[in-house]
Every structure is written in C-alpha cells, then in structure tokens.
C-alpha cells in the first residue's frame, strides 16, 4: 500500500470534525502528529521531561485553536502543528520556565526504579547497537565518516573532499549504517518489550 505523502491533504476534514466536537477526531490528531511533535521538541533541545510537558501543551493549544476556528486552511494543519511545537519550545527556553517536571521536588517524587531502569536500558541498547553497527561497517574509513558526520557535525562535502569520496559512496555508508541500526534496534526493542 502506498503511503500518502504529507504534502497531500490526507484528512482535510479533520479540523472540521474537531470543530464539530468529534472526540475521535481529536484522538486521531494526537496519534497522527505525536511522534513528529516529539522529534521537533527534542531537536529544539528539550530533555525527556520537557518533551512530555511541551508535547501535552502543544496538543492542548492546537485543539483549543482548532475548536475556535483559528485554523483557516485545513491543508495547513501540518505546518500549524509543527510551528506551534517549535514556538512552544522556543518560548519554554526563553522564559526559563520552571515547569512541574523541572521542579526538583516533583522530580524526586516521580523517580522510581521503573522509569530510571527503562531509560538506562534504552540507552544501553542504543550504545550496544551502534557499536555493533560500527563493527559491521568493516573499514576505519566508514567508521570515520559516521563519527565525523554525526559527532563532529562536519558537512558532507568537506568529509567527501578530505577522504576522496563521491557523494554516492558517502550516501551508501550512511544508508547502510542507518538501515542496520534500525534493524538491530528494532530486534533489541522487541526483545525488551517481551520481558
């Protein structure tokens, strides 16, 4: 089944249904955009507790505005959600707001073995998977490409020029690493979920 691209208005009537008070439409909105909103918030620099807080805030405000009819163009729903998330993150850092999740007292109260252990487990899996990916790459050059691109944030053009690579060779290394990482991480995650 071909997945429709985001540029096509998938559910132009989603906003209309939310305005009409359809609770299912509201749940659909959250399910559809939740993952993307979290990516935006992480990219803006929010840590895990802030991501959860701002994620909730994003959808609270989005639903409020959609119900009120503030979204004029239903086809602009994705842009509306993404810019709302980004602006909330910017505002959060600008104000240095102490949300409930930043309050040390609250943090202490929610710290329990279960969330901490899960975070550690996820981080461990991630590191183990990446080490395996790096080993499987086979050459120092390929490992260097990944380190320089992801760790040192060097530009692709610079890395290609200095290592004498074509754009295609570079893309191939990234593609192999990425796909192998996803495969291994998926296996490790499903193993975790079975516990």
């Amino acid at each position: 089944m071909n997945e429709p691209t985001a540029s096509e208005p998938r559910s132009p009537s989603l906003a209309d249904r939310i305005r009409a008070g359809d609770a299912a439409a509201e749940r659909e909105l959250v399910e559809r955009y939740s993952r993307g909103v979290k990516v935006i918030l992480r990219n803006a620099g929010a840590n895990a507790p802030a991501v959860d807080d701002l994620h909730q805030e994003t959808f609270r405000i989005a639903l409020e505005k959609i119900r009120r009819g503030d979204l004029r163009d239903a086809a602009g729903l994705s842009g509306f959600i993404s810019s709302l998330a980004r602006n909330l993150a910017i505002d959060h850092f600008r104000r240095g707001r102490r949300s409930a999740t930043d309050d040390p007292a609250t943090l202490e109260s929610v710290q329990s073995l279960e969330p901490g252990a899960l975070d550690r487990m996820v981080a461990s899996e991630q590191a183990r998977v990446v080490r395996q990916v790096l080993e499987e790459l086979g050459t120092d050059r390929d490992r260097e490409i990944l380190r320089r691109f992801y760790l040192s944030s060097e530009a692709k053009e610079k890395i290609c020029e200095e290592l004498g690579l074509s754009s295609l060779q570079f893309n191939r290394v990234l593609y192999r690493a990425r796909e192998r990482y996803r495969e291994l991480y998926k296996k490790a995650s499903s193993g975790r979920d079975m516990l």
Binding site: E3, T5, A6, S7, R10, R32, Y33, R35, G36, V37, V39, I40, R42, N43, S78, G79, I81, S82, S83, A85, R86, R120, M121, A123, S124, E125, Q126, A127, R128, V129, V130, R131, V133, L134, E135, R143, L146, R147, F149, Y150, L151, S152, S153, A155, K156, N171, L174, A177, R178, E179, Y181, R182, Y185, G191, R192, M194, L195
Partner: protein, 272 residues
Amino acid sequence: MEHANFEESDTAERYVTKRLSAEERARFEAHFVDCSRCLDRIEAAEGLREGIARAAVGEEPRPLPFRMPRRSRPAAIALALAASLLLVLGASVALSLRTARRAEAALEAERAAEAQAKQQLADAEQRLSAAEAAARQEQQARSALEAQLAKERRPQLAVPVFALITTRGDEKETLRLPPVPQWILLSLERESPARFDRYQVTVMSPDGRQLWQGEVQPTSREQLAVGLHSSLLPPSDYVIQVDGIGRARTPVRVARHAVRVVAAPQATPPKR
C-alpha cells in the same frame, strides 16, 4: 515530490545535526510531522548520533536484563577487544578534536585581547600627545600674558593728561590721543561748590551705548582724575558723563562732555 527532494538531499541527517537554515528547518518540520518515512529516518539518525557520542566518551552500558545471544569464548574475547579498541580510538579522536577546538578558541581570544591592548596603547599615546600639545600652548599663552603684564607694569613716565572743561551747548572737545596705545588721564571739572564724595564716570557712544563706567573719588577740590587706556577710545565721537553719587546712591548729573577723539600724527624724524 517534496518528500523525494528531502530524501535525496539527506535533509533528515542535516536536521538531526542542526545544519539546516531556519527556513529549511520550518519547511522540513511541516513535512515530516506527518510523514512516517521521514520520521523513521530522523529517529535512526538520532539513535546513531547519540550512540556514537556515547561510544566516543566511553560510556559503558550496564548489564542488560535480557539474554545476549551465545558466542564462542575466543570470538567473544576478540569482539570485546575490538569494541574496547574502538571505544579508545573514538574517545581519543573526540578528545583531540575537543582539545584542538579549545586551543583554537583560546588562541583567538588571545589575539583579540592583544589587538585590543594595542588599540588602547595607541589611544593612550594619542591622548598623551594631545595633552602635551595643550600644555605647550598653555605655557606659550602664559608667557605672552606675563610679558604683557610686565609691559603694563612699567612705570609710565609721560602720561598724557587731557582736561575736559564743562561747556554750555553741544560744542565738542577734541582729544588728540597718541598713536601708540597707552594710559591717559582725563581731568574732569567738579561742580561748584563741590557736593559729592564719590562720582560715577560713564563713557558712551553718541547713541547712548555704554562703553565704560567707573566710580571715582576726587583727588582735589576742583578736579576728578580718571585714568583710561587709550585703546578704549579709538578715533570717534563720545559722550563722557559725570554723575555725583548721593546718599541714597542715586546718581545726580554733574557734567556731560561731548568729545571727538582723533589720532595724533606720528612724529616724523628730523631731516638730516
């Protein structure tokens, strides 16, 4: 179409490593927020990046709760050794890069501080030169004033005296002042009988503009002597008014002299 462009230009990786402009980022976010393929790619890039960063700083994972797949001992040892080597290599590369960047930043800061110090020194030198020049000018002005003062203090052996007599009518008295500026004495007639202990003498232009005013005490029963510098009276017409100062300090007109000042001709040297 837009999705294909994003895929081809590694936009997901550039997004994760924060190499997109604000505009590109906004466009990409508006796209991927509803695109599971882009989200997959972004999350894989995020995972790789975080994992490589952890590996570079030598973070060791804690023992995992699920079983590792079985491997033979020698292979496991070799794998562990390779992993350790990779960690050490990665950590040293990251450390070197970090050290090099810090050294570069410190060098830049040193250069900037040196440039600033040089500029401050140049500014200070400029201010010093300006102060020295001002001090020299002040010294020159002081010397000129001292010379002038010394000249003025020299005893005047021949002071021209001009006697002004009270006349009736508008008849003007002519004063031929010496060509070289110098002190002169105006001898003014007092009223008869003399009634005042103090007098106010005012020099005015013919249109009534005051040029000079002073209080004088009489030196004799009939005369008032007023010393003026001749530069105060360049050739022109003047009115010299004499007022007696009464007890209530109200001036009482005593005399009014219309004078015409002319320059006396320069003395010509005798012919041989």
